[in-house]
Each structure stands twice: as C-alpha cells, then as structure tokens.
Symmetry: C2
C-alpha cells in the first residue's frame, strides 16, 4: 500500500494535474491521511455525504463527485461547508436549487461543479451548450459558487487494451475540456476540471486542461484493475479458514460473499498454485484444489477480491500488516451508513 501511494504521488509530482484520491474506495481516515501526506493532492473525493463528514476529519478540501438533492443531505453538506471547502456535483436545476437553498439557510458557501456525461450514460449533462447553460445558472444562484466541471469516464477505466483505453479516454475528455473552455470564454470561473479513475489516471491525467484525477482503487487494488497494465500491487486480502475438505480436490473456507463481493467476478486465491474459487455463497468459498494440494482443515486462505470498494464496505476494520506481522488495526469509519448508526444511538440514549 505504501508503494502504491508513493508511485501515484510520484506520477502527479511530475504532472500539472493533481490527484484527488477517492475516499469511497477504502472509507478509512488512516489511509486517506497517508495519501494526503504523500503529496500531489488537491483534496479528497467522496461519493456520499456521510463519507464527506468522516473525510473532513483529515482533509479540508472535499469534492462530493455526485449529485446531492435531498434537503437533509444538502443541509449536512452546507454544515460541512462552514468547516471545510466543500464542492458538490450538479446536473439539474432542481439539484442546484436544493444545494443553494441549504447553503443560504446555513449561511455557508458550497462550491459546485457541473457534472458532464462524458459517455458513461449515468448522471451528467451533455458536453457543450447544456454545461454552459447550467453553469450560468450556478453563477446566478445564491449560496453556491461555480468551481468548474467534472466528468467520470467510468465506461473507459476497465478497458483491457491500453491503446483502446487511451483512445476512448482521450475522446471522453474532449467534451469535458471543451466544456471548460466554453465556461472560461463566457467569463465564468472554472478552476476544477475533475475526472479519471485508477484505469485512466495516466491517460486523463495527461490531457491538457484536466486539473485533477479522482482515482481510488490504486491504493489497495483488486483482480479487476490487476488485469490492466498498471504499476500498482495488490495490497489487501480477505482472510478465511478452511472449515471443510470433503474431497481431495474440494475445500471450503469460511469467507463467502458477505466478506468478498462477486460483482466483478469471483475472487482469486493468493499463493496457491492451481487453486480457484468455484463458488461463493453467503459464508462459504468453495475452492477447487489440485489433488496434491497440502491445504488442510484449519489452514488460512487469503482471497484477492475482484472489486475493492464494495468488499471493503463489508468490513469494519483493516488489520494492518508489515510483512507478516499485524502492526495496527484501522477503523473503516465510513463503511455503510454512519448517519443511521447515529440515528439509533440517539434513540437509545436520547440525552
């Protein structure tokens, strides 16, 4: 993990672009602190308001790279904006007005980037005129401050071929950078042009005009990104115990998909030649092993997750290894919905 953090920081040390590590990947303040200390960062990226509330413990410049429209959530963003520099994405007038109202009520200023659909076909307005129209509206709205544009090329980050990924990545960034140019030509501020992920950090991160990259998975990695030509190492695993060996070629470990998600495919087994996970149930990993495999009942197995973010979201802590020694335990403070945990605590203890 330390090597991954250093490699990514070194890339951005040489670039005009900054890194805004995505907190959603690990939800762990202890890791975010290390990413920020390594340098080359503009702040942190978050996906949710509750992540931002926890990230604000370690960082004073936070982008929620996502639309926030619920009045209660907007009020929480506005409350945060009184303590740290907060920026949120908008892609609609309704969303913009919800943020503006909450900010005005709190006497805060919330930064806004216009979310541009760069081809992922999820949220975001189309590049060009639509971005300009919404940006003008931002500039005319109280409580908010236009800070630029963002566009996540989520449809590109996992493309296996580098040549193809570069071509698609640059094409995606064109509409985003053009939109930024239109804003500036119109006299509007456009400090942030925020984009990218682990699969495109050195593609989008080299496109002139992109000011920051929102990569997250690079810090711990998974089999999905591990299949690409990236200079990052697998740095976290899920440990299980072999609880059953019904046949010479089948063992079952107690780490199922409540510990390691399978939304990007089945996990792999670390360091066991010829072993592969054949099915993953709630609490069981069934593993095919070669007949001569020495894996006995009670042995530990380490799974390499296929998808960083949702796997970590299943856990409350990291056990931190230096070599083979556990040297610390880090709380994954922002896992799940911390605000709801608080809701119960306040009900149980109304004081």
């Amino acid at each position: 993990m330390d090597r991954n953090i250093r490699r990514m920081a070194a890339f951005f040390a040489d670039a005009t672009c900054r890194l805004r590590p995505h907190f959603k990947a690990h939800k762990t303040p202890a890791i975010a602190r290390r990413q920020l200390v390594a340098g080359s960062c503009s702040g942190l990226t978050c996906a949710t308001v509750s992540e931002a509330e926890i990230a604000a413990e370690v960082c004073d410049d936070i982008l929620i790279a996502n639309e926030v429209v619920d009045p209660n959530k907007c009020a929480r963003v506005a409350a945060l904006a009184r303590r740290v520099r907060m920026t949120v994405a908008v892609d609609s007038i309704e969303g913009l007005e919800a943020v503006g109202r909450a900010a005005a009520t709190a006497g805060a200023t919330v930064g806004v980037v216009v979310d541009v659909n760069v081809g992922q076909m999820r949220c975001g307005v189309s590049p060009g005129g639509d971005v300009l129209r919404l940006a003008r509206r931002v500039a005319a709205t109280g409580g908010v401050e236009l800070r630029g544009v963002m566009g996540y090329e989520g449809h590109v980050v996992s493309v296996p071929s580098r040549a193809e990924r570069e071509a698609q990545g640059r094409a995606a960034m064109e509409g985003l950078v053009d939109s930024a140019r239109m804003l500036r030509a119109d006299g509007l501020p456009c400090e942030l042009v925020s984009a990218g992920g682990t699969g495109t950090y050195d593609i989008s991160g080299r496109v002139p005009g992109v000011t920051e990259i929102q990569a997250g998975s690079y810090v711990l990695m998974d089999t999905d990104y591990g299949g690409l030509d990236l200079p990052f190492e697998q740095a976290f695993w899920v440990m299980g115990t072999v609880i059953s060996r019904p046949t010479a070629t089948r063992v079952v470990a107690d780490c199922g998909h409540k510990s390691t998600t399978k939304d990007h495919g089945l996990p792999r087994v670390r360091g066991l030649q010829g072993a592969s996970v054949t099915s993953l149930n709630d609490e069981h990993a069934t593993i095919a092993v070669p007949p001569a495999c020495g894996l006995q009942i009670g042995a530990r197995v380490f799974l390499i997750p296929s998808h960083t973010d949702p796997t970590i979201n299943l856990h409350d802590v990291f056990y931190v290894l230096d070599g083979e020694t556990v040297v610390d335990v880090w709380r994954i403070s922002a896992r799940g919905y911390p605000e709801h945990r608080g809701a119960v605590d306040s009900l149980l203890d109304p004081s």
Copy 2:
C-alpha cells in the same frame, strides 16, 4: 413481516417438525424475538460464531449450521455453551477434535450434528456409512455430545417448479433421514434431523423423520424467493432518492450495490409500472422509466432486493414501518464481523 412470521408459525403448529429460524438472514435480535414469540420454534440457526454470540441475547438454544474449526472460534462456542444450549455441525475428525478440545478446556459440553452432503456439494460427508463413522467418533470424543444430523438442500431451495422442487427435495432428504436411522440403529442418539430453507420448508418439513427446518428468508423475502409459489410477502425495501434525470426515460437514484446486492440479479423497483433497474454501480441505480413516468429529481424510490441476506448485511439498522409510518429503528447487531469491531474498541480504549 408480522404476517410472514404468523404464516410460518401456523404451518409448523400443525406439523410434527419444528422451525429453527435462520438468524443469518436478518442478523437482528428484534426480529428473532418476534419469530420465537410466534411459537413452533426449536431455537435459532446461525451461520457464524459472532451471530451466535448476538443471538444468545434472545435465545437459549442455538445451532451453528456450519463447521467451526478455528481454535479461537471453538473457544467462543465453548464459552457460549456455558450459558446456552449450543450445537455445531462437523464434517471432519479435525473439526470435531477442535470443538472437543475447546469444550473440554472450558468445562463445557457442546452439542454436535454431523453435516451430511445431501447434494449441494459444499460441506458435509456423504450419507450413510461415512455419517455413521463420524457419529461414532463424536460419541467417543470428550467435551461434545452427539445430537444428530443436518443437511442443507441448498441446490433445491430455489428450483422454480414446485413439482421439480418437491421431487429433488424429497430425494435430498432421503439420504439424511436414512443416515439418522442408521445412527439410531447403532444405538447412537439422534434427536435433531435439521434441514431445509424458505423454498423447501413445506417439502422437507413434511418428510417423516426431519425434526426441524432452518428457514430464514421467509421473514422479509426477496425477488429470488418471490418468484416461487410461497405464501410470504415482500417485507423490506431499500429506499433511495432520485438524484438525476438526464433523459425522459433514464433516472438515477442514490442506492447502488453498496445498499442492495446484485448476486441474485438486479433489484426491482416497487410500485412503478414499467420501471426497471438497468445497472447498479457502487452508489448509483440507473433506472429505465416510461417517458410519461412522473418520477422527478428528489423523489423516493424503493428497491426490492434480489437477495435478502447479503443486502441486509450492508446495513446497520432497519427503519420499521407500520403502514407508511416509521414506528421504530432496529439495530442489525450481527451485521459484518462484530468481534472485530470489539477488537478496535479494546485497542482504542485499553481499559
């Protein structure tokens, strides 16, 4: 939920077989208490030791329907066995000896059922002679007490056709009931013949010789079991908010697969004619809607999860509805790995 609990209890009120509700489905003591109060129960089923530690708050007869072999976990089972009646599954001599050692050390008696592979091809020994051999070994091991056999027909519970499910379910139970008969013929105790799930409760639950059914999902249901001919109603949903409406036929809500798993397929949208989830990312549900759909930015959507257990495991609380009114908040105490949360607390506060 109350109706589901009542219907299941009514089925078992008329049966010779008992219900042992599976705590892993919801991990929530407030729900387990209601299942037990409804009657017809022999105790609770758990999948993990940490679930059992929390289930023991509300129940004094717990079956961990899974192998436990790690010495620390066996010690925790033995500690529990000093307070409540504990039973665990074994399918190997190594596993049996690990449980026996821990029980002897703690001065406790841990009950044991032999886990029989009834066709799921996961854990378990083959029906017949192998079961008898391991059962004799249990009877000769200190610290443990032979209580019978279990076999989970996990390969049958979701078979869509009832006729096919009945045929396969009865075939699976044959080997289990035969094994129980062999134990008794050998003079061994066999109080428990534990099997079944939500999809087979009224199939395995009617097979003479089966003494209890481990159903869990029936209490809250999902789209997977909802597709079968079962008398249970969908009783939980994941609420999200529409944060983006980029086109007339596409909306995006802030409930992705960190809130609703997709291991049994994409969730459905409740009460919205013609709407369907087309993709589910970490924090986004992209929903195709008819052009005339009135779903606006800020509107609430309710997703029907495809798989009860892992979806609930993502959340810390249930908001409890009576009609449309929130009347309580229940803690999902056993979600994740409660024992690790404790590990951090003790590090942070060594007192």
